[in-house]
């Protein structure tokens, strides 16, 4: 299994959940991965283990995606070290729930800073490398609730709806440069983020998934491998639902 062999990828939010699994699958498929986490040193061990296990190169980078200067330094670093960037996965995200009437400005800012503004910034930075090489695949993490909406998640769902919209727009703008932009819209995936809604709600949601189980981070990572690879070379501007036919 080597469908990402020698492709240079940058993935945000690699220390846990879906991002951790995307990192694993990309390493398994032979990619050179610049893996981002916030806490300094937190990826050193796993990067070394994955490099040894799959013989691929994993380079940890540490920054908060809201820090535009650090994100820029990271891209300069990638340009110097690898000279190219084939795949960007904008995975880092935050989810905070609040009912209408209880949504304050700091909540809106917290969510949009990470889920939307940082994503736009990363795309602008990746564009600098990808436009020169005239190729690239950008994968954004949207959500089923960004398309369908969900009670209690006005801000989060709006941020993920924004991700779907910015994916479609950047796909249109960047297609002439052979840069593809797609989003994955996960349903209910078994990670810390999803579990944070509480056990009772998890059970309730489970009964609304027609395929009869929660999604796994691997389900999402496999979609990311496909969208990052040349197997999807004619696919752009798509929001790929990976949700086991879930209802929200």
């Amino acid at each position: 299994m080597d469908i990402l062999k020698d492709k240079v990828a940058l993935i945000t939010g690699c220390n846990r959940g879906i991002g951790k699994e995307i990192l694993y699958r990309f390493a398994q498929e032979g990619a050179v991965v610049y893996s981002v986490a916030r806490v300094e040193g937190s990826l050193d061990k796993s990067a070394k283990e994955l490099s040894e296990k799959f013989g691929s190169k994993i380079i940890p980078l540490y920054f908060d995606v809201r820090e535009t200067d650090k994100a820029k330094d990271a891209l300069i670093n990638i340009k110097k070290q690898s000279g190219r960037l084939d795949i960007l996965v904008n995975n880092a995200g935050v989810m905070k729930d609040a009912l209408i009437g209880m949504i304050d400005k700091p909540l809106m800012k917290d969510i949009f800073d990470v889920n939307v503004f940082a994503v736009i910034n990363m795309i602008q930075l990746a564009y600098k490398l990808m436009s020169r090489q005239k190729s690239g695949s950008i994968i954004n993490l949207s959500s089923i609730v960004g398309i369908e909406g969900n009670a209690g998640q006005m801000v989060y769902s709006a941020s993920k709806g924004a991700v779907a919209a910015l994916t479609k727009t950047s796909a249109k703008e960047l297609a002439p440069l052979n840069i593809r932009v797609n989003a994955i819209a996960p349903g209910m995936i078994d990670t810390d983020m999803f579990r944070s809604i509480g056990e009772e709600k998890v059970e309730e949601h489970l009964s609304n998934i027609k395929i009869g189980r929660l999604g796994t981070p691997t389900d999402i990572a496999n979609a990311a491998v496909f969208l990052g690879s040349d197997l999807s070379s004619y696919i752009t501007g798509q929001i790929l639902g990976v949700d086991g036919e879930a209802l929200v």
Partner: protein, 78 residues
């Protein structure tokens, strides 16, 4: 080649104009320096001087002369 010669070359090659058109040249002053031409020019300058310009500077880069000022921030003396 001096830095100034390199800077001029990015304009003449990217926008397809001659050196004597550079003084006083402004963004959107000629059809080639439209928003698409602008991004091409920025890429050429970044490649020539091995820098990565900030978005604010890309937006501020409104003329041939302004570009020189902006490059100083990136330690490129013309």
């Amino acid at each position: 080649m001096t830095n100034l010669e390199k800077y001029n070359k990015t304009f003449t090659e990217t926008l397809g104009i001659s050196e004597d058109e550079l003084q006083g040249l402004e963004y959107q002053g000629i059809s080639q320096w439209d928003s698409v031409g602008h991004m091409g020019l920025v890429s050429a300058i970044e490649d020539e001087f091995d820098i990565m310009m900030d978005t604010d500077d890309i937006i501020d880069f409104s003329s041939y002369e302004k570009g020189k000022e902006i490059l100083k921030k990136y330690d490129v003396e013309l």
